[in-house]
Amino acid sequence: MSEAAAKPTLAVWKFSSCDGCQLSILDLEEELLDIVGAVEIAYFPEMTRAVVKGPYDVSLVEGSVTTPEEAERIAEIRENSKILITLGACAVAGGIQALRNFDGADAHAWVPTVYAHPEYISTLSTSTAISDHIDIQGSVQGCPPNKYHLLELIGSLVWGRTPNLPTHSQCLDCKVKGNVCVLVAHGTPCLGPVTRAGCGSVCPSYHRGCYGCHGPAETPNMDALTTRWRSLGVAEDDIVRGRRMFYAWDPGFVGPGEEHHKQPAAETTRGQGSI
């Protein structure tokens, strides 16, 4: 990386999402000059109108697949990217919009209640992870991702090393921070024990229970945590709602005895990408 000409090209793509993951990159205000010094921003409409034609060394993908057009577009991006990394809960697990995937939900029935001209809307009945459609090289978790994890990712790609990204439980980070456990000491329902660390322990630091914004930890035991939530007196409906947030559709947040995944197999295009 000693020559300016050798700078790797970086593209940032948006699918069904709120743009928060892209904003996390832009939130790296003090580091942005270092980033553009190390990589060439080839495609990132939220940052710059300048577009460099592909193929790209690295593509970062935000958002889930919720339309037929997106299912096609992600395959094209895969074809044009050497390394493809997904960013955030939507891209990794379908996001909060994956609530449409659960039994009893019907995205097509909702469309006329939301849009004045439903005829313009073309949507799939599911919201699915990018990795349900193509092969990926890795992910950065979170809703939104921690901006320093994004910096770590970019740095690791530039230097060709493995990024240091946490996979352990949120409890470890709370203890490191010196937080008193809100579940044990306050009786507050908390998803921390089954949730991946990385947010900076934001909610427990303010005496709130963790709501799982970084998705399941490496080996989540949802059955055991559900048992504990029941002993705190949390109603069954609230237990289900508690884990059906941004990572609702992630297999790691499936509750005890719960059927998971009406598989959207007919609508996926998985396996058509190449590395």
Binding site: D34, L151, I154, K175, C181, L225
Partner: protein
């Protein structure tokens, strides 16, 4: 020789530690719990507050007696002031065609812990074996350790020990070694006093500056009796007889499957344990070519802890809990010549699932 101090003298003791240049770490009410916090003044001590602890539950309560040290185990021990959760080991930066390594000098801050319990002082002497007594010494730990002063408090007030089981582990409730000063708090009717004993020259020097009368035989007897009462009434216990052998032979016990289903692998037990010492070493490099090596608290409940070529070898909660418990209660003895458990009970209180190590050991013994 013991001296008797009143509440005001304890406050004076803290002031005197501060004027001697110590950062005073002491108990305080914070986040609805009584834990150790740096920058403690006498007025910060949790006068009249106590706690109730059971597996997976902790609540503070009003004691109604004005006790300064009327609490049991804190949410975490004060090990973080000796063994910090995150520490830079060294960094390196590019210098033309070479690189320069920067290592910072060990921290020389003087820390005084006030209100340290016997279990935690015993845990410190166990961590000393890990960081100082082996083939290599940890220079940062050594520097902090040498600058540490401990004002311990014998457990004398709560006959119901809740989740504690130090008596059966042989570490408390009376502090045994490693401290500079030991206090025993006594509340009898309208009398509220502390019996103080210095254990080191530094402890004697500090106590000499504090007003107090020589303790009479009644006061010493009251302190001894109160501590004995706590020891005798401690409900929880681990039968330490032949414990390492029992644990070493427990590998196939069906109990591990039962507890594995309850274990969250959340790492809480290891994070609150005062003897756990595992760390993760991470190298990272920023975009400007500065590389940093960081040492952080880690846990045998993470996958990376057992990651070797090809992946993690302890993939289940059962395997990780078994590894932790057998090490703590068994193989630690072989490794360091002591048990890895001091009976502080924190792993019981702060387990979100309420797993009780004393119950698990008893079950394994009954099955054996």
């Amino acid at each position: 020789m013991s001296t008797v101090m009143d509440v005001q003298a304890v406050y004076t003791l803290i002031d005197s530690l501060k004027s001697d240049g110590y950062e005073v770490v002491g108990p305080r009410l914070r986040d609805k719990a009584l834990g150790y916090v740096a920058g403690t003044n006498g007025s910060d001590l949790p006068a009249g507050l106590g706690d109730d602890q059971s597996p997976g539950n902790y609540r503070t309560r009003d004691r109604g007696d004005g006790a300064l040290f009327g609490f049991r185990s804190s949410p975490q021990s004060w090990r973080r002031w000796i063994f910090p959760p995150n520490a830079e080991v060294w960094s390196a930066r590019r210098d033309n065609d070479s690189f320069v390594v920067d290592t910072s000098a060990p921290d020389s801050m003087k820390v005084a812990v006030i209100g340290a319990r016997a279990c935690d002082v015993a845990a410190l002497t166990i961590q000393d074996k890990v960081f100082l007594d082996g083939q290599f010494q940890d220079p940062a730990y050594k520097a902090r350790r040498e600058n540490l002063l401990i004002v311990a408090v014998n457990c004398s007030l709560d006959a119901d020990s809740n989740t504690c089981f130090c008596a059966s582990m042989g570490t408390g409730p009376r502090v045994q070694a490693g401290h500079d000063i030991a206090l025993t708090e006594i509340i009898e009717g309208d009398k509220h006093y502390f019996v103080a004993d210095a254990q080191t020259d530094e402890g004697s020097r500090i106590l000499e500056g504090i007003s107090g009368a020589p303790a009479g035989t009644d006061e010493v007897a009251a302190a001894d009796s109160a501590i004995s009462n706590v020891a005798d009434s401690m409900g929880r216990k681990v039968d330490a007889d032949g414990l390492p052998e029992l644990m070493n032979e427990s590998y196939e016990s069906p109990r591990w499957t039962v507890v594995g289903e309850r274990c969250l692998s959340c790492t809480s037990c290891t994070m609150v344990c005062p003897t756990c010492f595992c760390t993760n070493i991470e190298d990272s490099g920023d975009l400007n070519g500065v590389a940093t090596r960081t040492r952080s608290w880690d846990s045998c409940f993470t996958l990376r802890h057992s990651h070797i070529h090809g992946g993690a070898i302890r993939n289940t909660n059962k395997a990780r809990y078994r590894q932790w418990a057998i090490h703590k209660m068994g193989t630690w003895q072989e490794q360091f010549g002591t048990s890895g458990c001091v009976g502080c009970g924190r792993c019981i209180t702060w387990c979100p699932s309420g797993i009780d190590i004393t119950e698990e050991v008893t079950a394994i013994r009954e099955e054996a």
